[in-house]
Symmetry: C2
Subunit: 215 residues, 2 copies
């Protein structure tokens, strides 16, 4: 399958590397077609890896992951919206306000009664936006066994068919039973896990932890 990954940060590269390792064709997108981070990744990732602009990447992918800083994510999505029509867009970004001190709060306009997932869906009325993976560190995203014992990953989105396809990808990453929380408004709940996640990160001294829902 052809995947587009928007963003050359830790998250984008971790997901892109895993997808290449699973045998997929993956284009890593950034502002410039010759972005140095992306070029280095293409060289190391090997067969199936390529790079391009955000627009190239949106065109290339059958499924497109958005792995951008929360404060730039929406403007990038908007700029390539036409190229994402009819596609599944997986929003992995968190709306952290990095202009504030640590631990970062969420962006005031994207919390509690709104979310980045919802705003992404609003910008892409002809795409199926699925929010997932945003509640764990990027190494755990693509290797859940870094966390001892089973733990949970959540998924939110309006289109059941799209969620089914994303769940197949999550399973290929090692997530056995993703929890489907419901429509895209449920992304509020997962994005709002960030504040306790950041505190637990400080406390546990490792980003390799996760939430498990027990009943």
């Amino acid at each position: 399958m052809r995947f587009g990954i928007q963003g050359t940060g830790m998250v984008g590269k971790a997901i892109a590397t895993k997808l290449v390792a699973l045998g997929h064709e993956v284009k890593l997108g950034s502002r410039e077609a010759d972005n140095a981070e992306a070029a280095a990744w293409v060289k190391s990732a090997g067969r199936g890896a390529s790079q391009g602009t955000f627009a190239d990447t949106a065109t290339f992918g059958e499924m497109v992951f958005v792995c951008l800083r929360g404060d730039v994510s929406l403007s990038v999505v908007k700029s390539v919206a036409a190229k994402l029509k009819g596609k599944i867009v997986v929003d992995v970004s968190n709306p952290l306000d990095v202009s504030k001190g640590m631990p970062f709060p969420l962006l005031a306009s994207l919390v509690n009664t709104n979310s980045l997932g919802e705003e992404t869906q609003k910008l892409l009325p002809e795409s199926s936006v699925v929010k997932t993976l945003n509640t764990v560190n990027c190494e755990v995203m693509v290797n859940p066994s870094l966390v001892k014992g089973e733990s949970d990953i959540f998924i939110s989105g309006n289109d059941p068919g799209a969620k089914k396809k994303v769940i197949e990808v999550l399973r290929s990453f090692g997530w056995k039973n993703p929890i489907d929380l419901g429509d895209i408004t449920t992304a509020r709940g997962t994005e709002m896990l960030m504040p306790i996640w950041m505190r637990l990160y400080g406390l546990l001294g490792t980003p390799h932890f996760n939430f498990r829902i027990v009943k």
Copy 2:
């Protein structure tokens, strides 16, 4: 030990009942000294149980639990602030905006860059406010074994000595290893678990579930 419990709702009564069962003296506080809910509770709870106004209850308790609706909690705390001087105040309330539709968002002024825990501490500069138990259903609060397998309870507060005493109470409820997240600002993280908690409640069909942190 003498406990004051502010609030005659499900949460207040669950905690009050457990404390009486553990052999403590417990006064259940409400607006009126002869509140009918509280009177019925006193009758059923037996030896050690009493009722009173919010003021009576603040005076009575060596440790005082606040188990009120998020939108009235601060005004009640403010009204009895003088009587809480030098005491440990355990804030169990969540700042849910019940004027909105389900699932309730949090109150706009008490989320993300603020919390009910912090505002409670600001109103009580001479008390030690500890936030805990607000992330689970009231039956689970006082009986963690309702959730199969181990799960976690969090604690936030500025005063390590006060947290130590509250942890003893939590242990007597059955919580083996409460997670001390840090100062009272960490209450933001636990209060912001409410949105995903409400979605999981709908999904799982039972309030008897909890978060476990695995690493």
